[in-house]
């Protein structure tokens, strides 16, 4: 079923919309959530919450593309869940991926002003624009979807080591970019 047909079902307030959404994108959503939470039950809970959120927001929203919209909700909910109940256990792909990014995070005492998430997101957007497509997709797959190195290596038809090296270079470039933009002094 086309995204537009699923959205139409949401607009019609048909519960079939959730079933079709789940049939079409359930697997992807599940993967996004599992990468963060590393827990099937928690992931299922997040996905159901996400579906509910979609149900509540469409209408009036009419997102395009639908998958990205749902994934974003799933990710946000999964991260919230992660912070809520996994503060002491750090064993998901999200942990690993996020730890890699720690080097790029501005230190507390090195900046005068506190960037809010939106401002920082805009700068990261600008940085992503400087990357070529392959590197950009790899970055997003790793740090947004929390894909493992093994998954990335299959996706990009390279070795895990190669994926790791490429990500390391991208992070290096991002750090330089953030410094240039005044995020890190």
């Amino acid at each position: 079923m086309d995204d537009s047909q699923i959205i139409d079902l949401f607009f019609e307030r048909s519960e079939q919309a959730i079933i079709e959404l789940s049939n079409k994108y359930g697997k992807v959503c599940s993967k996004v959530s599992l990468n963060i939470l590393n827990n099937k039950l928690d992931a299922e809970e997040c996905i159901n919450d996400a579906y509910l959120s979609v149900w509540n927001n469409i209408p009036p929203q009419n997102p395009s593309p639908l998958l990205t919209y749902v994934c974003r909700i799933v990710r946000n909910l999964s991260i919230k869940k992660y912070h809520k109940n996994t503060a002491f256990k750090r064993n998901s792909y999200y942990d690993i991926a996020f730890e890699e990014l720690e080097d790029c995070i501005p230190s507390l005492n090195s900046i005068d002003r506190d960037y809010n998430a939106k401002e920082l997101a805009k700068i990261i957007d600008d940085f992503l624009d400087t990357l070529d497509k392959d590197n950009r997709v790899m970055f997003v797959r790793r740090y947004w979807f929390s894909d493992s190195l093994s998954e990335l290596s299959k996706m990009f038809e390279i070795t895990e080591h190669n994926a790791s090296v490429r990500l390391s270079r991208i992070r290096g470039r991002m750090k330089k970019y953030l410094i240039k933009r005044g995020v890190i002094l």
Binding site: V28, P65, L67, T68, Y69, C71, R72, R75, N76, I79, H83, F98, L101, E102, C104, I105, P106, S107, L108, I111, D114, Y115, N116, A117, K118, E119, L120, A121, I123, I124, D125, L128, D132, K133, D134, R136, V137, V140, R141, Y143, W144, F145, M155, F156, E157, I158
Partner: protein, 255 residues
């Protein structure tokens, strides 16, 4: 800045990047050099160059390769050395025949300037159309487009000093100075298409009295002073043909 803010920021990146990562996870295929327009252009240029190079080398009208032949026997003087059968030094020091008379075969030769290092050379044009040169060291022969005439343009190597040493001074071959045992005739060839090349006929007298000649590529160096000598004057045709040659007679009859 809190880690959470950074994590949140990553989560807030533009939808287009997430969409791109969702939809387009296949790696971009590297475009091979020869498939890129610039690669194709470079390859085409190189191929054209190679073709032109090949044409230049093999196309008969652009051919610059010349060959040298011994006049009389028509034996080609090779680059590795050819024993000349037209003349030799006998065991008693006497001489038989003419060691080397040669002619050049080639395409579209404009002129050849001949320069001899140690001995002497002269030039005879059996077609009687060109000026001829008597015993001299350097001269320039016009060849022209009629390649059938090249056979008749004969250069004789005249080792007068060698003969003198062998006959008058009664020296054996083994006692001859190096200068008399070897010689070089340099040919500076100019083609009608403007190209030039330099060849040389190197002549060596063997201990057994045989002369060996080789026809090789040659690079003129600063040491080659003999090249810089001025050309000898040609022989006045009135003197050369004063007794009347066939050509002169025919010319007179026509007049």
């Amino acid at each position: 800045m809190k880690k959470e803010t950074f994590s949140q920021a990553i989560g807030l990146i533009d939808t287009k990047y997430i969409n791109e990562a969702l939809m387009d996870t296949k790696p971009t295929k590297k475009i091979l050099f020869y498939k890129k327009p610039v690669g194709k252009t470079i390859i085409a240029a190189v191929l054209c160059f190679l073709i032109l190079l090949g044409l230049d080398k093999f196309y008969p009208f652009n051919e610059t390769t010349v060959l040298a032949y011994a006049y009389g026997t028509n034996e080609q003087i090779s680059s590795i050395g050819t024993v000349l059968s037209t003349g030799k030094v006998n065991a008693d020091g006497s001489m038989t025949g003419t060691p080397l008379s040669f002619y050049i075969q080639g395409n579209d030769i404009s002129t050849i300037r001949y320069s001899v290092k140690n001995q002497w050379i002269d030039f005879i044009d059996w077609t009687q159309k060109r000026d001829e040169f008597g015993i001299s060291k350097n001269f320039t022969v016009p060849y022209g487009s009629d390649e059938s005439e090249y056979y008749y343009l004969v250069v004789n190597w005249e080792p007068n000093e060698l003969w003198e040493a062998l006959s008058t001074r009664n020296i054996s071959i083994t006692d001859l100075p190096q200068k008399l045992l070897e010689d070089t005739v340099v040919l500076e060839i100019a083609y009608s298409n403007g190209k030039t090349e330099t060849k040389a006929i190197k002549i060596n007298l063997q201990n057994n009295g045989d002369f060996v000649a080789s026809f090789v590529n040659y690079s003129i160096t600063e040491q080659d002073d003999f090249i810089n000598r001025p050309d000898a004057p040609y022989i006045d045709r009135n003197i050369l043909y004063k007794q009347g040659s066939i050509a002169e007679k025919q010319k007179t009859e026509k007049m």
